[in-house]
Amino acid sequence: MSEGLPELGRFAEPSIYILVSLSDGPKHGYAIMADVEEISGTPLGPGTLYGALARLERRGLIEALAPVERRRPYRLTGLGATTLRAQLDQMRGFTRAALDRLGETRS
């Protein structure tokens, strides 16, 4: 089921931010936007946010909860947590390799 996030094209990076944002508990759209801005330092546009949310929901990586007033919170699913962990491990491996090479070049 997990297809990885790179295949989401321009929504891949916002999707990782959203998954990270939901990893400490459910949030609705506005809270996700604010959190992602804090994590990444880059604001997430509303169209991009919902484009990514729709893709993540369709793939079963997040799920919608009952709306509170008009705001619907989303939470990470088990599959979403596994996918996020795999992505972060991959990024960690890449970062480590890149830093090692950078160190070799400098020395």
Partner: protein, 251 residues
């Protein structure tokens, strides 16, 4: 703000509109954010992630305004097509060494606008199909461009043939995606195939139906009006109820 949200497809709005509007109320978008909404709407149309589901009460959803407008324009085009044929059939009789024909030049404006409006309806039918519908959209593009060429140069017989053949591709695609009924497809096929088959046979000189004079030629061409009628009517009527269908999980 609701105008921007209205750019999103119906299925998307059914699912996300309420919370999306709440988000925009909490954090009104700046011009860049508005552009992002438009970009998101384009993406939602090109790469739908949400399938349209019929009303649980079973009542068909109303047609979207642009769809219905395109339908009425197409029907108006059909009327203009008939007007063009009546004018052409009453044009001056020209006798040549090889035979006679009616000069239909006076009908040209009506003919051109009718074909333009048919192109509008056909593009609407193509856009109304679930994405990607690449064959239908490519065929609609081909038909619209070649049809426009035929509108300006009616003597290019094969331009008209290509335009209507591409239109059949759009119609078959509409039927396959449940947008059209089998009856609608059947009417369109009859409306395209019979007149064009007669024109091809007669034009090739293989056979001429007895009594086919210069006036009857315009009756044969005029019978293509069935195409305007079926396309226009399919857009004006309420969309057919259809089951929730799987959407490709690809971005």
């Amino acid at each position: 703000m609701t105008r921007l949200v209205a750019l999103y497809p119906r299925a998307w709005r059914d699912r996300y509109e309420e919370e999306f509007l709440a988000l925009l109320a909490d954090r009104p978008p700046d011009p860049v954010g508005r552009l992002d909404i438009v970009r998101g709407a384009v993406d939602a149309r090109l790469h739908p992630q949400v399938a349209w589901s019929p009303d649980p009460t079973g009542s068909p959803a109303p047609g979207s305004p642009w769809r219905v407008r395109a339908g009425w324009l197409t029907l108006l085009g059909g009327l203009l097509w008939i007007v063009a044929m009546v004018i052409a059939a009453n044009g001056p009789l020209i006798v040549e060494s090889w035979g006679s024909y009616r000069d239909g030049a006076a009908a040209a404006p009506f003919w051109s606008v009718a074909l333009l409006l048919l192109g509008t309806g056909m593009v609407a039918v193509a856009l109304d199909q679930p994405a990607p519908a690449r064959a239908a959209r490519a065929a609609a593009l081909v038909s619209a461009v070649v049809g426009l060429l035929w509108a300006l140069t009616p003597w290019l017989f094969y331009a008209g043939l290509i335009a209507f053949a591409a239109l059949v591709v759009v119609a078959v695609s509409a039927w396959r995606s449940d947008r059209w009924s089998g009856l609608e497809l059947g009417i369109l096929l009859v409306g395209v195939v019979v007149p064009w088959a007669m024109m091809l046979v007669v034009g090739s000189g293989l056979w001429a139906p007895p009594g086919l004079g210069p006036d009857l030629q315009y009756i044969v061409i005029g019978s293509l009006v069935l195409v305007w009628v079926v396309i226009g009517a399919s857009l004006v009527r309420a969309p057919r109820a259809r089951p929730v269908r799987a959407v490709s999980p690809r971005a």
